[in-house]
Symmetry: C2
Subunit: 284 residues, 2 copies
C-alpha cells in the first residue's frame, strides 16, 4: 500500500496570495495569506450551455468527462469526440472558463439520456472575464454604517461555535443583529441550504434587507455564500474557515466585510476592514 509518485503524483492546488489583516489579542497586523482558487466552469455541449459549476481550476478535461459520465451523458471515452477549451473573442483560450464538448453521436440523443435531477443552468456570463463587474452591476455594493468591535466578532463566533459543534459535522449558519444577539441559526447537510434557511427566515419575517446584521458560517466561505449575503444586503460575513479567492473578490467589489478563521479570540480580515474597530466599548 503506497503512494506511487510516478503514477499520478498529487500536485499543488492553485492558490492566490492576498493581503489580510490579522487580528490576535486585539492587535492587528498585515500579512500575506493564500486563498484557494475558486472559478466558474461552464460546460457546453455542441456549443449549447449544459452546466455551470464552481470549481478549482485544473484538470478541467477530467472534470468535464467525469461530470458527463456521472450524469449518464457519455458511457465512456468512445462517446467523446473532443473536449476543448472555448476560445473567446480575444482568441486566448487560457483565460477561458468555458469547455466545449463534441460527442460522436447525436448530442440531442445524449441530452435525453439524462436520467435524473440533472442540473442545467442557463447561460449567465458568470464564466466570462467580466464576472465580478457584471454581478456588481446587478447587485450594487452594500450600504451600511454597521461597525463592530473585535470583541463582538469573537464573542459572536464563540456563541455560534458552541452550537455549531453540536451538529456533528453538518453545516451551520447564524445571523446576529447589531447588538450581537443571535436572531436565527439553521443547520443543514448542505452549506448553501443553511444560509438559504437563515435568509428565508428573515424574508418570511419581513426582516430584509439585513443591512445591520452579521452572518456567521461554520465552514468555508464560497462565492455563492457571499452572493447570497449580498442579495440580502448583509454587510459582514464571519466564518470559522477560509474564504475562496472569488469570495474575497466579490466582497471587495461589494464593499462587504469578510472575516475568516475566527478562532481562539483572533481572526483574519479579508475585506472591508473599516467596519471592524479595536475598541471594546459598545460602539453599535
Amino acid at each position: 500500500m503506497s503512494l506511487d509518485p510516478d503514477l499520478e503524483a498529487p500536485r499543488g492546488v492553485p492558490a492566490v496570495r492576498h493581503r489580510v489583516v490579522k487580528v490576535r489579542d486585539h492587535a492587528a497586523s498585515e500579512c500575506q495569506d493564500h486563498l484557494a482558487v475558486e472559478e466558474p466552469l461552464e460546460i457546453r455541449l455542441g456549443g449549447v450551455n449544459l452546466s455551470v459549476t464552481m470549481r478549482t481550476p485544473g484538470d478541467d478535461e477530467e472534470l468535464v468527462a467525469g461530470f458527463l459520465f456521472s450524469e449518464g451523458i457519455i458511457g465512456g471515452a468512445d462517446d467523446l469526440d473532443v473536449i476543448a477549451r472555448y476560445r473567446g473573442p480575444d482568441g486566448d483560450p487560457d483565460d477561458s472558463n468555458v469547455m466545449n464538448v463534441l460527442l460522436k453521436g447525436d448530442a440531442r440523443v445524449a441530452r435525453e439520456r439524462l436520467r435524473r435531477n440533472f442540473v442545467a443552468s442557463s447561460s449567465c456570463g458568470l464564466c466570462g472575464k467580466a464576472t465580478i463587474d457584471a454581478i456588481r452591476a446587478a447587485l450594487p455594493p452594500v450600504k451600511s454604517d454597521l461597525v463592530i468591535t473585535i470583541d463582538r466578532v469573537t464573542a459572536a463566533m464563540h456563541d455560534a461555535q458552541s452550537t455549531f459543534e453540536k451538529t456533528g459535522g453538518l453545516h451551520a449558519a447564524g445571523l446576529f443583529d447589531a447588538d450581537g444577539r443571535l436572531v436565527v441559526l439553521r443547520e443543514d447537510i448542505g452549506r448553501h441550504n443553511a444560509v438559504d434557511k437563515v435568509i428565508g427566515h428573515m424574508v418570511l419575517a419581513r426582516g430584509v434587507p439585513l443591512d445591520r446584521h452579521v452572518l456567521m458560517v461554520s465552514g468555508r466561505v464560497s462565492f455563492e455564500i457571499v452572493q447570497k449575503a449580498l442579495t440580502a444586503r448583509i454587510p459582514v460575513i464571519a466564518a470559522v474557515s477560509a474564504p475562496s479567492s472569488m469570495a474575497v473578490q466579490m466582497a471587495l467589489a461589494a464593499d462587504m466585510t469578510l472575516i475568516g478563521f475566527v478562532r481562539n479570540g483572533g481572526f483574519n480580515l479579508y475585506a472591508g476592514a473599516h467596519r471592524v474597530v479595536p475598541g471594546v466599548a459598545e460602539l453599535v
Copy 2:
C-alpha cells in the same frame, strides 16, 4: 453577546439510527450510529419544477423562501402568495419532499428575473417515495468480487490522508486499485468536483468500469457521491467522516460497501460488510 433561546433556539437536526459494524484494532462489533438525514427537496413554481436540492428536512418553507430570494425570484415576502407542501396522490403531505410556490405576480415574469447561473433541474422523480427504487432500476447493483482486508482500508486511508492534510481544507478524492495502489488523486474546492475529476481521469484513460477499485474521500459521503461511484461501478467507498442517511440507503440498495470514520486504524462499516475481511494476509 449571547444566545437567546427564546428568540430562535437551535433545534436538533433530524437523524436516523443505523446499525453499523465498528472495527477497532482488528476487532469488529455491532453498534447503533446516528446518520444525519439527507433528502431531496423539489421546489415547484406554479406547479412547474424549478429546482431540486439535497437538504436536511426541516424549515423547508424558509429554505424555499431563502432560495427564491437569493436567486432574485422574489424581492420579499410580499411577492409570495403561498408556499405549500405538495399533496401527493395519496393525499399525505407530510411524506412529500415537494414544495409548491405561488407568487402574487406573474410566475413567468418571475422566472425572467433570474439574473445569473440559476440552477434549474428537470423533473426527476428523485423527490418521490420511490426514489431509491427508481435509481436502483436505472443503475443496477455493483457486481464485484473485490475483497479487502482491514489493514488495507486503514493503510490506504493513511496514505490518502497524509495528502489530504496538505490541502488546507479543500476536498480530496483518491482512487485505489485492488492492490492498494493510489491510481489518481484530485482536490477541488467542491466535493463533487474532486470525485468527478477522479472518475473523469479514468474515463479518459478508458479505465471504466472501476469494479475492482476503492474510492476514498476526505470528508462526508453524500447521496451524490454514492451515485457517482455507482455509475462508475466502484464497489467500495471509504471516507474520513460520516455518510448521510441517503448515502447509506443507496449503498445498501446497490450492494456497495460504504466505510466511514476511517481514523486511527479503525472505521465504521455502514453497508456491504461482506467485502471487508479481518485477515492481514494478501487476499486480493
